[in-house]
Subunit: 448 residues, 2 copies
């Protein structure tokens, strides 16, 4: 018996042992995934703590409008219509003030307009008798839905009034159809409009008063930081390109210069922020009619510069590099061109950030332009001897030529930043230390 | 009297004459704007007639679900809840099948999940008495709204389940709050779920059965046409760059080659289409688990090539052009490189469009690669004499170098298109005429 028991136990343990690993493996997999997800969420919160604040604000707004249900006197006057206040809060409350205001205004105006038209449609349909009514109503619903849906394809309208058109279709359909069952259409429109207004204003008030997130400020920072990223690349480029990699060291080990990559694809983001910013009232240093278009212009020029830098970056890590002797001939001028353009861009970025007139940027641009001229002179003077392999000159010439393009782009960016500075009357602050002209003897390769 | 009358009339006419112009001007301005808007709408319809069809489909779907109100037996079973079917149609019906399906599934699942949890929350809150109930409910609403809003910031979730989370917040709040006033919570959830399902399936059925627009097909076409646009530029580039502008003719007069510009900024569009396409069932030549990621990879490589082309384009219209003698030395090889890369890209684009294994693309790529080698040999042989101004060599060298980059990019694109061809088992069709190797004597500059 003892033996039998023991052997049964062994079999059991054996089965468990055989059965366990896959289950254990699966539960371990799930555990890892869940932990990964949570650490990802924590990182999202750390990257931008405003996200946490926004989530709490959204919870608060929703809890506030749900008082319409809990508090008897409020519920008495609105009844089930209070639902529309809750729905409005859920769909209108957005991350930035501009987006919330835009959606709120769209929803309010669309409800008003669609409600009015639906009452008219209801009256017209009423005239056509019990059998004709659904036909007339159906026709109106079909017509407005088809027309409004088509108008939503128009890019200019989509950018600013897409949500309004959606709500227009929704409200017109709901009110005019409901009118078939309930003759108190006017009462319906009135209640719906009022609850939408209450929900919308709750969102706007919370969004403006509690730790507001301004889309305008975000656009402002995005434009400045994109310019800075390109500046950082350019400041580091000369040093990185002309340095010979030491043994066992690969150039690709340094991701420091890859920050500019994000600039290539941020047009959609910039456009969206500018659209939201247009709804925002005066806040801090931003007026209601702030020249957001100028920001987009600067952004487009920065992106144009980033395309050139993408080509330059390809040369940084190219397999075939020109020989040291060939590169060293233009090292100085190219390094100055790149470094000075980078400094100018960082200066311009700082000028936007602080809204102070860029002081030294023009000097840096002048320096980079005079390096271009130096390069011209160098090249004219017959830089490489006749023995030089032209094949090896090509990549170096390309880098030089791309850098000349970058200098041109930088000058264009500086011009449009200066336009912005004039439009917004940037402060003029005299710097305490004036930036020096670079010495032509030795390139300055310190990174500030 | 007569005189007085006449003078009064003159005054009146004078006033009218003075008052008219601004009103006339304003009404003329409005008329122009309205006409402009209508012609813009007509153009939108002509550009893509599927937009008109979609608008009619949206109208039809909405008219169909409004039958729930008009038809007595249906209204009897759903009552005012039929409203949810109408709302669902308005917000779920999207342009492509994938977008509609994605939103429909999100809405359905989120309503089910949130409804279930809200019933649980209602039961829990019921236990805490009349005074405790709103507090417990408020806490639940706040908690779920804050957590769900935060999770929406997660990019991977935002891409596919953003709408689901919105509906989750909405449904949970509505049902749990309504439970405070109406104990028939289960009935409420049941009706809401059923109407959402009816609305959602109306959308999906109409969207699939009547002239379906597949996001997958659109992505497929977009990737192919982007490649073609770049191919067109490259085919025309050599001709355009090496041609000397005739008197009074500006190079910028030809917008033919500017089609590639739209490729630079279409990442967002591609990502959105791929997200929609993932929801789509098997259709035509596309399976359910079609390798959309591979399309995105090809798209990214095409964009990388477009960045190089943006730099090339800058040289096309540069103020300073190298002298004819300098350019002519490398004209032949560069024209072949550009032309053959362009042909390869057009071939690859056609291969994707027709889903036939690219046949001649490899030959074109080999041709372009051998031109690169020819260029190397040319450069090694000491192409320009010692008198040549190096300054004038730089732009030409840059164009050559950028074209070499483009050849590399094209080879990468070809490789990933071949991967796609293997994944999807593209048809193999023997061409009737085999493409010839380019003659090295004369560059072929005919544009096919």
């Amino acid at each position: 018996m003892d033996l039998e028991c023991a052997s049964q136990e062994t079999v059991k343990q054996g089965l468990l042992a055989r059965g366990w690993p896959p289950i254990k493996g699966f539960s371990k997999h799930v555990k890892t995934k869940v932990l990964e997800f949570f650490s990802h969420l924590i990182k999202l919160g750390q990257d931008d703590p405003r996200r946490v604040v926004h989530s709490l604000k959204a919870g608060l707004a929703l809890t506030l409008v749900s008082l319409f249900y809990y508090y008897q006197p409020l519920y008495k006057s609105f009844g089930v219509s209070a639902m529309w206040a809750v729905i409005t809060v859920v769909v209108v409350f957005e991350f930035s003030v501009g987006a919330t205001l835009g959606k709120g205004v769209n929803r309010g105006l669309a409800t008003l307009l669609a409600g009015g038209l639906a009452v008219g449609a209801h009256q017209l349909a009423n005239l056509s008798g019990r059998i004709g009514e659904p036909i007339v109503l159906g026709f109106f619903v079909f017509l407005q839905a088809a027309v409004s849906t088509f108008v939503r394809f128009c890019p200019q309208i989509k950018a600013r009034y897409d949500y309004g058109l959606l709500i227009f279709i929704l409200t017109f359909s709901l009110i005019s159809i409901s009118g078939f069952r309930d003759d108190e259409v006017f009462e319906l429109v009135h209640k719906r409009l009022l609850t939408v207004l209450i929900g919308g204003s709750t969102c706007v008030i919370i969004s403006v008063l509690l730790f507001p997130v301004w889309a305008g400020q975000d656009l402002h920072n995005l434009i400045a930081s994109n310019m800075e990223k390109i500046g950082i690349f350019l400041e580091g480029f000369g040093d990185e390109y002309f340095k010979m990699p030491e043994d066992g060291e690969s150039k690709e080990d340094r991701p420091l210069l890859q920050g500019y990559k994000s600039v290539l694809d941020c047009k959609t983001n910039e456009d969206a922020l500018a659209n939201f910013a247009r709804w925002e009232p005066r806040h801090g240093r931003f007026q209601f009619r702030h020249p957001w278009k100028q920001y987009l212009k600067i952004g487009a020029l920065t992106r144009k510069c980033a395309y050139r830098i993408e080509s330059l970056n390809g040369h940084l890590y190219a397999d075939i590099q020109a020989k040291r002797e060939i590169r060293s001939k233009i090292q100085e001028t190219c390094t100055i061109m790149s470094m000075e353009s980078g400094k100018a861009l960082k200066e311009l970025s700082m000028a936007i950030k602080t809204m102070v007139k860029p002081f030294a940027a023009d000097i840096h641009i002048e320096n980079s332009k005079s390096s271009v001229k130096n390069l011209d002179t160098l090249l004219k003077s017959g830089l490489w001897d006749d023995e030089t392999d032209l094949l090896e000159v090509v990549p170096v010439a390309t880098v030089a030529s791309l850098l000349i393009d970058v200098v041109t782009c930088t000058a264009e960016i500086a011009e449009s930043v200066n336009e912005l500075a004039t439009m917004l009357k940037f402060e003029v602050v005299e710097p305490t230390v004036s930036p020096e002209k670079p010495e032509t003897g030795q390139p300055k390769i310190e990174i500030s």
